[in-house]
Symmetry: C2
Subunit: 224 residues, 2 copies
DNA sequence: GCAAATATAATAGCAATACTATCAAATACA
DNA sequence: TGTATTTGATAGTATTGCTATTATATTTGC
């Protein structure tokens, strides 16, 4: 799987960037270092000027790759969910039993991420931290409907739809497969966030993981 | 209940504001019109300058009530969750059966909000729309840990804890009461958001509500 | 009813943000 | 080697997110 991911190019909607950052060393540097800088100072305080200083490049050069920092975050998110979809595919591909398959998928989308060494310019572990704390901001804008029409969130929706199909395979009579799937994806990020910051309103800690919570949830909810 | 709410003053942590907006007409105007303006143009584009123009007041006058727009949003959120807690209390107070009580509570926190005419300077229906699209931004900042220590999110956590107690009353053996409660509160906002913007990844629409989804969820999850 | 206290408005100003434009220098590539 | 493309450097603009100061209302306490 590691080798497969390193050869398959992660596809991101072309409208998200001005120039594809995968096509140059500066572009890859922008991706790599923006992940570290956003993790470090937070997306709200992140600017292209600061990123320029960090990578020893000019602000205006970064604008040649991304219109603004919002689009960069949408790009990083798309990259993350695309990578997640590959992981899902390879991890569940050879499982026969539909419930085991769903279970494996839930583990993949809710677990804490370790760095995948196959992608040298992206640290998935740090990217996962960004997704936990910043992903919601890609959706919660006044432009969400336009951007949705442009296909900015297609990859994210693909991941959810993959889970939807697995849920239906387990229990075709369950009437809320889509809501359950979107709830688990969003909810897992939220439980990770609560574990890190608002510890009194989650059961998740060093011993109990969001994965435990959601595996228990689907087991009872989809029981026939 | 309507009368009770109009007499009980909604309490908000004093550290959130510079001067209590409930103590003056300008303060109340700031609250009332900021809700409408944030709903109109979105929190990201909202500025004190624009609000000043809208209420025919000076930017600097608004700064005497709130340090910045983030604090104003935290204030509006606190007000909302405090109001929600009153609603929860009065709606569940006289119910004996623990499951009916929980069910009623879930209806209250997940349903679409109509304006409560008892509070003249706050349109709860519009405030609910803001909470759906902007509440997550109060938490997802680099300052979340400090602000949590200062008690900025106490009222929000109170609402969740109230649900936690109701869950435990229904099934004391269920091991994820806190995660379930925080998932439902956050998840319901998210399902409302998806219904409005990303309709393909939710079952919620004009006929099926987030309430239906979560009532079904607790019914199966907490079954003994 | 008047003085004192307080609240609000008006204006100015400053540093940072979020860009755009232009031109020069470096690099790639044919 | 010449040309195209990419990057860097510099400058500039409108807006944001404030703070400070002073003037003018408005409230209140006696």
């Amino acid at each position: 799987m590691r080798d497969l991911i390193s050869t398959i190019k992660i596809q991101v909607n072309e409208k998200i960037y001005v120039k594809d950052p995968e096509t140059s060393t500066l572009g890859k540097k922008i991706i790599k270092e923006s992940i570290l800088l956003i993790d470090d100072i937070g997306f709200d305080d992140f600017t292209f000027k600061k990123l320029g200083v960090k990578i020893g490049s000019n602000e205006s050069s970064i604008y040649r790759y991304f219109e603004n920092k919002h689009k960069l975050l949408v790009y990083l998110s798309s990259w993350y969910w695309n990578w997640m979809e590959y992981k899902l595919f390879f991890a569940t591909n050879n499982i026969e039993d539909s419930f085991d398959k769903l279970k494996k998928a839930i583990i993949i989308v809710t677990e804490k991420i370790e760095d995948d060494e196959a992608t040298k310019h992206i640290n998935e572990s740090v990217l996962n931290k960004i997704i936990i704390s910043e992903f919601t901001k890609t959706l919660h804008t006044k432009e969400v409907d336009e951007e949705n029409k442009e296909g900015f969130f297609l990859i994210y929706k693909n991941v959810i739809n993959r889970i939807v199909h697995l849920i239906i395979a387990v229990n075709p009579d369950y009437p809320f497969a889509k809501s359950l799937a979107s709830n688990i994806i969003e909810g897992a990020l939220h439980q990770h966030f609560l574990r890190d910051h608002l510890t009194t309103i989650t059961n998740c800690n060093e011993n109990i993981s969001p994965t435990d919570f959601y595996i228990n949830l689907i087991t009872t909810v989809l029981k026939k």
